[in-house]
């Protein structure tokens, strides 16, 4: 186990290095820099632009810039984001919780709902219940999440006037404790639901297939022969084995959502990591972009590590080495 952790750790460092260096060069390859963007937003003289380039180190050769950035990063100094007038770490710390809650709740909800639907489907394989669930899955799978998001807004907020449209919580209230939590739940219900739909379908399809496969296995027949109640056979004996591919999917979902929920964050006005990275690209805010990518890849690496541990817990035959 310690050897495994060590190996994973060194892999993680390599992955993050590649992510940071790769994106650094991608941003630098794009024409125009941060100062061009600043100058386009606000009148500036050539002198002022030159002095800003010196201040942000943009006058240096690209490789020197990379070296300076990396040597700061080693000290966990992410630098300064001029367009936010704040250190990159402060900006990310403000946005990280939004993304964390969004990702965790949509993974938990979509996995639970998807698995349950998949199991029900598998148990009723071939009959009308299975068919109607399958049709539902197909619709959820085929509808882009942003379309669902817009439909939610039009129906629940504009037509019914029941749900808050944008933001993480009501702005300017001093609510605390349960009232605040409820406020956040109300604000995140629609974005989380919109993020879930596609994945509910994925989990449902995978869950159904994997359940059908497991149900044919000998040990399930044994369990039934022992006279165990069907509920126990399905949810304890069979499901545990059927869960393995679903857990793999959860790992992928986390990776996809950490930086990839841009559309949903944009539509619901949620200042999350995806939107931050998106804006940073167009503003050529290299420090901020690399900071976001660094933290995102770090969390993806951590989540994948946790998932490996989960495998082991679910199936003792899996060894981490």
């Amino acid at each position: 186990m310690p050897r495994y952790v060590l190996r994973r750790l060194s892999q993680a460092v390599l992955v993050m290095l590649l992510v940071v260096i790769g994106s650094f060069f991608l941003v630098k390859m794009a024409p125009g820099d941060l100062v061009d963007v600043l100058a386009g937003n606000s009148d500036m003289t050539a002198d002022q632009m030159a002095s800003l380039r010196v201040r942000y180190g943009l006058d240096q050769p690209v490789l020197v810039q990379l070296f300076i950035y990396m040597s700061r990063l080693v000290m966990l100094d992410f630098g300064y984001s001029p367009l936010n007038a704040a250190p990159v770490l402060d900006v990310i710390m403000g946005r990280w919780p939004v993304t964390a809650i969004l990702v965790v709740s949509s993974v938990v909800i979509s996995m639970t709902v998807g698995t349950v639907l998949g199991v029900i489907s598998a148990r009723n394989a071939g009959n009308p219940i299975d068919l109607s669930i399958s049709i539902l899955m197909l619709v959820l799978y085929a509808t882009p999440s942003f379309v669902i998001a817009i439909c939610f807004i039009l129906f629940f907020s504009v037509f019914l006037g029941a749900m808050p449209i944008a933001g993480f919580a009501t702005v300017g209230t001093q609510a605390t404790g349960f009232a605040y939590a409820w406020d956040v739940v109300k604000h995140l219900a629609m974005p989380v639901a919109a993020l879930c739909t596609f994945y509910v379908a994925i989990y449902g399809r995978i869950g159904r297939a994997s359940m059908l496969e497991v149900l044919k296995l000998d040990y399930v027949r044994t369990a039934r022969a022992k006279g165990l109640p069907e509920r126990r056979v399905i949810y304890v004996h069979a499901l545990r084995n059927a869960l393995l591919p679903l857990v793999t999917m959860a790992g992928l979902q986390v990776s996809a959502l950490v930086g990839g929920a841009v559309l949903i964050e944009t539509i619901f006005g949620l200042p999350g990591m995806g939107r931050t990275a998106f804006d940073a690209v167009f503003e050529r805010d290299t420090n901020l972009l690399l900071g976001v990518l660094f933290i995102s890849s770090l969390s993806v690496v951590v989540v994948n590590f946790v998932i490996d541990l989960l495998y082991m817990a679910l199936d003792p035959r899996v060894e981490l080495a």
Binding site: A30, P31, G32, D33, L34, D36, V37, A39, G40, N41, S42, D43, M44, T45, A46, M49, P82, L83, N84, A85, A86, D90, V91, G94, R95, I150, I153, L154, S157, V158, G161, P164, I165, A166, G167, F168, V171, G172, T266, I267, F268, G269, P271, R275, T276, D279, F282, E283, R284
Partner: protein, 543 residues
């Protein structure tokens, strides 16, 4: 497409009458509001509005960027305010006088004004702000106050501006958006650009900062010690930053936002909501941010050195079509390098206009020695529309079709904002460049930069991009910078408009108009030339 766009509300209209200034485009008044009873403002309530993008700073003394322009006047006052027609009115200064030679301007300051932290406001703050901040760090201030040699402070409530030459445009740029007064006791002796107060503002303004979530929201609360007794009426203003325009529309429609300023809704949504009885559309109050959509010809390109080619192109583009179909009526067909909100100077009298006339355009091109080739094409050009908003791209698509009819093949090149700025003003690697830019409260501030040969400065965005140079224009622009007699100044600008439209280095496409759309219950948000770019101290909520 005929739409009733100019539904001015009663207050705006009466305020306009009161200052004896006719509002341009006031072609229809909604009968319902025009005869409503006068209402007494009610105190209290929260005004919620939405915008995008998020702000970097909270004051507009160190940047001319849009988000700061909206926020700054809520926290900071200027020396002056402006009634409709850019007529000066008191703010931090109660009286002002200009010496005979125009080189000394004396401001009497309002007594008893306190900064948000309780310190007293004095002439020291004024001197510090102009000499150390606006002259140094403000994009337009650097040129506007270039001849400001000193601000004398004979006593705490008198500030005397000492100028190298007269600066008539300066008096139009002293509001809390263009020249906010910063507290010397917070900023003096610090690195101004990096002072923490840039995001924790301490001003004299009607509102104080209550909370700020970077990139998400700003909450402003009423300043109970505001010098304008009894104002502001609102308890709070909440500004949420919402990136998606359709979401902003949904928020206004669902009542989760009360009002949207500065065209932050898509034009079609604005029109749809304006047609509903609960909403009110106001197009006044944007005089300090009047913008033109314009197209620069790169005069360094051989083909554009012939004025006939530029004229032919102007004849091929129906600007009214662009107003109607691209801007959905929120604008006026381009007819002058100025903007019609610059009422004192804008004119079309004797100014050449280029009506849609494809036959004439073709004749001019033939005459200029560009006959159609075997495939019907005379020559090929590329246009770079700004990626800021979609209006320029859509207009470029229309222009491509028009060009096709006169035998010019036009390629549209799209790119992101950083590339666009660099290409057009640094690399100068373009034929035609189409964008929208602010014309300023005075032509000297906003228009001159595009036509003055001394402002041909590659590397500087929104400078003289066509590389236009005409000594006569230079002389007129330079004379108008120092001309104190308003009539003479008007003549200088009239002549300038005639020459600029004859030479046509830049084609004015649309004089855009801006819209505020809000629920009827939001009252008095637009009471002067500054509108929502003022302090909203008069704004109140009915109900």
């Amino acid at each position: 497409m005929k739409k009733q766009l100019f539904q001015l509300d009663r207050r705006t209209f009466m305020a306009g009458l009161a200052t004896s200034v006719a509002l341009p485009g006031a072609i229809g008044l909604s009968a319902g509001s025009a005869f409503a009873e006068a209402q007494t403002p009610k105190r209290g309530g929260t005004l919620t509005t939405v915008a995008w993008p998020g702000t970097t700073y909270m004051n507009a003394a160190i940047t001319t960027s849009g988000p700061e322009s909206f926020l700054s006047p809520k926290f900071f006052d200027g020396l002056l305010g402006y009634d409709f027609g850019m007529v000066e009115k008191p703010a931090l200064a109660t009286e002002w006088s200009i010496a005979e030679d125009g080189k000394r301007v004396t401001f009497k300051l309002r007594p008893g004004v306190k900064w948000h932290d309780g310190e007293a406001f004095t002439s020291k703050d004024v001197a510090f702000t102009f000499m150390e901040v606006l002259k140094v760090h403000h994009g337009r201030g650097r040129s506007l106050f270039a001849d400001l040699q000193a601000v004398e402070t004979p006593d705490d409530l008198t500030a005397v501006f000492v100028l190298g030459k007269p600066a008539p445009a300066m008096l139009k740029a002293l509001d809390g958006r263009e020249s906010p007064i910063l507290p010397a006791h917070i900023y003096a002796g610090t690195n101004i650009m990096e002072n923490p107060a840039n995001t924790k503002p301490i001003g004299t303004g009607a509102f104080r900062l209550a909370s700020y979530e970077r990139g998400a929201s700003v909450v402003m609360e009423r300043n109970p010690d505001y010098w304008d007794e009894g104002k502001p009426y609102l308890d709070r203003i909440i500004l949420q930053y919402i990136p998606d325009a359709s979401t902003r529309t949904a928020m206004l429609e669902a009542g989760q936002a009360d009002i949207v300023f500065l065209n932050f809704l898509p034009a079609l949504d604005t029109l749809r909501l304006a047609a509903m009885p609960d909403f009110e559309l106001v197009e006044a109050g944007y005089e300090t941010s009047a913008s033109n959509q314009q197209m620069d010809f790169n005069l360094e390109r051989e083909i554009f050195k012939d004025a006939r080619v530029r004229h032919a192109i102007a004849h091929a583009i129906d600007r009214q079509w662009i107003v109607d179909n691209v801007w959905h009526g929120f604008g006026v067909a381009g007819a002058s390098p100025l903007h019609h909100d610059q009422r004192a100077f804008y004119t079309t009298e004797g100014v050449p206009q280029y009506a849609l006339d494809l036959a004439k355009a073709e004749a001019l091109l033939d005459e200029a020695g560009h006959p159609r080739g075997a495939n019907g094409v005379r020559f090929e050009l590329t246009i770079d529309p700004t990626p800021y908003g979609d209006e320029s791209l859509t207009a470029a698509e229309y222009i491509r079709e028009q060009f096709r009819q006169i035998g010019i093949q036009l390629n549209i090149r799209t790119q992101d904002y950083a590339v666009f700025i660099k290409r057009c003003w640094t690399d100068r690697d373009f034929d035609l460049c189409l964008y929208t830019a602010a014309m300023g409260a005075d032509p000297t501030i906003g228009v001159q930069r595009f036509y003055w040969s001394k402002n041909f400065k590659p590397g500087v965005a929104f400078s003289n991009g066509s590389s236009y140079s005409n000594p006569e224009v230079d002389a007129l622009l330079e004379a108008s910078q120092v001309e104190l007699d308003p009539d003479k100044r008007r003549e200088q600008f009239a002549k300038f408009q005639q020459i600029a439209m004859t030479d046509l280095p830049t084609l004015p496409v649309v004089h855009t108009t801006r819209a505020t759309i809000g629920w009827q219950k939001v009252k008095d948000h637009t009471v002067d030339a500054l509108g929502s770019l003022g302090n909203l101290a008069n704004c109140w909520i009915d109900g």
